[in-house]
Symmetry: C2
């Protein structure tokens, strides 16, 4: 076994040994953990562009993702139902006010952290919402993403011919992508047999079509992050888990899948 694979397996194992119990437990500690992941993901976004994080604007950007991620309305009862979004809005206002106070900070400078923190916060907030509904919704998303990745790899290696997005991710093929979708649908089908509640309020066939959509969304999330990294000329978004890259590298697909599941009213 190569040193690199060994490192990947060991640190991947450690990460799962921390993440899985936290997901299973749920609750406030899990939510704060996810909020910290969101802050770290924004930190990676800032770093890729060469922006410092230890500035007022950098801290505000991370704070924006944190408050958008946490279901604040569950704790601060005076807030409206979309309390996390309005709190996010206030932090965005503070970033915008920096364009008045700072002599060298313009709306165009503020746009980058605002967009990054929204993208990250929306996805991680949906992860928490899914967990609040029940653990099955989180497992479903994880299974779909893992099945998509494995299926795409196995089919791509064997049958891959036509390039999917050569400019952004040169190794991916259309055949692999289809294999990923098929694999996701299969795994979703099996999961539905074990846990029929997971697809409420949909029926079996509609939900299998949704599984196709979720698998495509996961692949698009992956490609979007590849595009960001290629634009900035970096291989990994960060060094969160040795051998596995940054938070964004690990959660890129899920950041697209969870909000889509939320859109379709699964939680």
């Amino acid at each position: 076994m190569s040193k690199n694979l060994q490192k990947r397996l060991i640190f991947g194992g450690i990460a799962l040994a921390i993440f899985i119990p936290l997901v299973l437990t749920g609750g406030v500690i899990f939510q704060i953990f996810v909020g910290l992941l969101a802050m770290l993901a924004v930190h990676e976004f800032l770093q890729m562009k060469g922006l410092p994080t230890a500035t007022i604007e950098g801290v505000l950007a991370m704070l924006a993702a944190f408050v958008l991620t946490l279901p604040l309305e569950n704790y601060l009862k005076f807030l409206p139902v979309d309390g996390n979004v309005v709190a996010y809005g206030l932090v965005v206002f503070l970033l915008l006010i920096s364009t008045v106070l700072g002599s060298n900070y313009t709306f165009e400078d503020a746009a980058y952290p605002i967009a990054a923190s929204f993208y990250v916060g929306l996805g991680f907030n949906a992860l928490i919402d899914a967990r609040l509904m029940n653990i099955d919704k989180v497992l479903l998303a994880l299974f779909i993403v893992w099945a998509t990745d494995s299926g795409a790899y196995l089919v791509g290696v064997r049958f891959g011919k036509r390039k999917l997005a050569p400019r952004v991710s040169p190794n991916k093929t259309i055949e692999g992508s289809l294999g990923g979708i098929l694999s996701a649908v299969l795994v979703t089908g099996i999961f539905m047999l074990v846990r029929p509640q997971v697809y409420a309020p949909y029926n079996v066939f509609v939900f299998l079509i949704l599984a196709v959509l979720f698998s495509i969304a996961g692949q698009l999330g992956d490609l979007v992050e590849s595009s960001v990294k290629r634009h900035f000329g970096v291989k990994d978004s960060g060094k969160f888990i040795p051998g596995h890259g940054g938070v964004l590298d690990r959660f890129d697909s899920l950041l697209f899948v969870f909000p889509l599941m939320h859109f379709f009213g699964l939680f």
Copy 2:
């Protein structure tokens, strides 16, 4: 009377003659009207940066503001309670996917329309939410902004000495700003006498403090937009109402005040 003042009065009158009945009526037509205002405001943002609006990305940016503004969850019943935010999230995803499909469109290019449409959509959505609660909340915001503007002008002209934000808005003074706050508190106090329901769930004194906050927020919204315009070297954000500038010029203060009122649970 100068030609310019005459033009301002006539077109200001026409605008109010359209806007006031729409606000009073409320309902779907009012909501779609506000959604179109939000699209126009994003159009102004794009134009100030010299970006075309008749592109896929331009249309997506305006669509993003439109779906964030409208209370979609009231009409598309399968959507979750924050239906407008998840719909906005999906349009943001489409903008991000453009960074994969388009050969010349990067995350940094997408960040500008994402930030602009969020800022605009959040504010106009809060206007609609305020109207759904009742007309008093909308009138309160309008009174606070108008009182702040007039009070700041009158006090500033007479007593203004120390510059407030010389780099962004050279004519504003600290004395004027304080006059604006005082004027907003007075007008709020009078409005509370006529319509005591307007300040529920707060008591009189707490609400007068909130009025101070709302007046400051209105002034900050105004300064943020001045900062944006100064950055791009334009005098007006657009030509929406002749003599009055663009949608952003007319709504800059309100885009800050409504979300803050929403944050404090007034609607």
